[in-house]
Point group: D2
Chain length 134, copies 4
């Protein structure tokens, strides 16, 4: 079991949503924050950096939104549902934007392909949590 | 002129929204992130910490959302408007929640009063920017 | 292979240190940032919150340092070795402090036990990277 | 009085160091995090982006370290002095590196000149706090 799932399991409060879906979304946010930070740096190192400006910006934005979303989702002791929902919407939007940018470069840059996959996984995990929160 | 306004002024790109309103909102987000981090720590130090759990959580959430929002607003080189709008909505929501929590304790704790004011300023700055992006 | 390792592998630049040790340290930082954010929230939810103030502060500090360290380690395109070394020292210090705090409560709170393990893993990964950087 | 100074003044705990120097350092960290995030975006927008890679990386690193340092300095309820000292060292190192990078471009890019000034102010504020902590 990954450490985030174990942390939720051992938390004194009951999560505001299915614990498995929550752990999966937090893990997807942390992973996506990591791959986006790396993809921004890899794009900056490419010879074609001038063509990758928009991709780099999407990467940096997505890393920041995912990192903040992971933290907010993790705070299950006192549920702040409107806050969680608005943040999940912002995260889904940032992940969709970054996935689209990276997919456009996936044929030339393998790091964009790997990053786009992480963005799509996180976008879907946010969508599932939003659906569960109704 | 504050440094953020000077940075926007010297940036090679034209901002996606009125430069003055943008600089004001970024400054409000940075200030609110700072006061919320401090208010969480101050509440944690109070004898009545057990009654301040929900306030501390709101403070921590608001600090994270404001910090991420400041960064996304700052990236004017390539406008990602849907991303900016969703993040401003999340920030306005987090600031409103944290202001309400802190206002409930403002009579007993001066740090909550100061923090609530910063939250309301940031909430209003986000609302103004959302209206301008409308 | 985890996504961070794949990102390093597909990056156009050669890492400033052994790629495997680097990927392991970044993953340990992200994991520790996640468990510390959760442990702070779990401690805040405990009946004995007043006895856990110092632990909560260590958790919050450690989460912030680990998140920043993960980002700095990830930027391999232009090596900033003195910066990396100073940050690894700060991260090792924060992880050691948080592990010691959490270990003191591990008998009563399973979340502190899980979190302490993540802190020790991250502390060791930072120490290994510092040793490799000589 | 700026809001950070008012928050420290209204905090139930006594700061671990002179309150004025502490408030000044936190404000300098927040300002530097803001200008560095902006300078990275401005550099990325320049025609000469390929020559500014190292500067952009220094900007991104410095923004992350300054943001984390501001948070750790703000948590005065339970002093974690070794943690604070190590983080101030990392912040001083990151600010010095970023100032040097930005100063090299200050003749061509006004945003680098403004950012270098913020980095030097933050570097000096960290050095003063380190000296005070002995």
């Amino acid at each position: 079991m990954n450490p985030i799932a174990r942390m939720i399991e051992t938390h004194p409060a009951t999560p505001f949503v299915d614990a498995g879906a929550l752990a999966e979304c937090i893990a997807a946010c942390l992973e996506c924050a990591g791959t986006c930070t790396s993809c921004a740096d890899a794009c900056l190192s490419e010879d074609s950096v001038a063509d990758l400006r928009s991709c780099i910006t999407s990467n940096l934005n997505c890393a920041d939104v995912c990192a903040a979303t992971a933290r907010i989702l993790t705070r299950i002791g006192t549920a702040k549902t409107p806050n969680v929902v608005a943040m999940l919407e912002a995260c889904r939007t940032a992940c969709a934007d970054c996935a689209t940018e990276c997919e456009a470069h996936a044929g030339h840059h393998e790091h964009c392909r790997v990053c786009a996959e992480a963005c799509r996984r996180c976008e879907e995990a946010c969508a599932r949590l939003l659906a569960a929160l109704g």
